[in-house]
Amino acid sequence: MAAMTREETEALIQEVLEVYPEKAKADRAKHLAINDQSLEKSNKCITSNRKSLPGVMTIRGCAYAGSKGVVWGPIKDMIHISHGPVGCGQYSRAGRRNYYVGTTGVNTFGTMNFTSDFTEKDIVFGGDKKLAKCIDEIETLFPLNKGISIQSECPIGLIGDDIEAVSKVKNKEYNKTIVPVRCEGFRGVSQSLGHHIANDAIRDWVLENRDGDESFPTTPYDVAVIGDYNIGGDAWASRTLLEEMGLRVVAQWSGDGTIAEIEKTPKVKLNLIHCYRSMNYIARHMEEKYNIPWIEYNFFGPTKIAESLRRIASHFDDSIKEGAERVIARYESEYNAVIAKYKPRLEGKRVMLYIGGLRPRHVIGAYEDLGMEVVGTGYEFGHNDDYDRTIKEMGNATLLYDDVTGYEFEEFVKRVQPDLVGSGIKEKYIFQKMGVPFRQMHSWDYSGPYHGYDGFAIFARDMDMTINNPCWKSFKAPWKTEATESEPVKAVA
């Protein structure tokens, strides 16, 4: 199918909206848009960060997911208590694949689930005593933890437990950082508020712990990698590039990160933000309080990597600028080989994305490097500023969908007929059963890393093995297939 014109896209949106009742239709219409590169501001064409409609299948998560799952969870040497009923913690345990180095259960706790396991009794009489006991047990069983965060689940806010008081008492008793996080799931409209709450908790309880302590030796080349959650090893693939160009990475927020790194972040010279949506709050705070500038960067695909490396280097002296050029030159033959191998197999393929808060725009460059085209993209929980940044990345007349519903997404895919859909686990099997190649773009489908030059090679291989998988031709029963043979896939160069 050829690229759609503006009118066709408009007609498609109208057709999809047709099934809704009048009121729902008016509301959903604001969240679906046709990209127009001439616009400076996204609020002219799309509404975002609004409450989902009751009755539609939204794909969003909750504030607890944003705080415990995204921001706090990957900090490996802290124990994160899922305070409340057992399910929230258990069903999200270790699903995000933030890799880390350490001995789980001894000095790192990333893939474990700690919960206060609320029962009816705790709802009636309050759970503060149980929380205190929980912290005592943690200190006995896991004495090498470097701190504890209390991630509130819905009932905590509803029954009005005072987790701050418990934290203060236990903080005195054990002399360890204990952070109460008010990230009850019902707060806000999506996980996005959870990110904000988590950022604010770091700001209030952790960040200033080492203010006035100058014992940490600094260099002019200190940076912090913020908003990289090390999914499948992403942060490691990014870190090697930064170190190779001569920078010193002091902290990783928060993939494979430690609380000590977070406490040292106010001493860096520049904050590098990968996931803008989940960590811009803390970067803005550090800019104001510690005068640390921050920039966004993008390590998906060689074009964007080179752009980002040069952009990062421009904040430093000539030795780093040379370093950036050296890194780009060093990997040039490597990524050109990847493109030469996979581009002939992937050229012209069309992709539809629906991901969280950063990848809907960040991975576009990587697909384009492989000669693919992104024909539709959307955010689960993006805000206006995310769409502002997306408009320029996407082609004209492509689809933009905010907080897309299950029904809309299916209909869009049926009509646009992309060669690949990139979204999450909940969408995966629907589209695979429809015969559309699918990659999970939250967890890299158990692959990764996709960041950096090393990651790009894996990204290209994964896209190829998904799209050109022979299974997609076997979808129709042999006696139902027509005699026409499709052209064979080009062999690997």
Binding site: K41, R284, E287, E288, N384, D388
Partner: protein
């Protein structure tokens, strides 16, 4: 009275950011912008107007300030 975080963009323009409202806009004009008086009415990129209590010295940016929203 929203708290507004002010910061300088790379090209030198002032950015006006209200976290609660998801609003990030450039400042197009500022009523007083001299070394001995700063503040007053500001007009943003989207045309909305806010008001900073005038100060005797310009604030050290980045900084969070209280602003008043002016109706059209």
């Amino acid at each position: 009275m929203p708290s507004v975080m002010l910061r300088k963009r790379e090209d030198g323009k002032l950015l006006f950011y209200i976290a609660k409202k998801d609003l990030e806009e450039t400042i197009e004009s500022l009523e007083f912008d001299t070394p001995d008086r700063w503040g007053g009415e500001v007009v943003l990129g989207d045309g909305s107007k806010y008001y900073f209590e005038p100060m005797d010295t310009p604030p050290k940016i980045p900084m969070t300030l209280q602003a008043k929203r002016l109706s059209e």
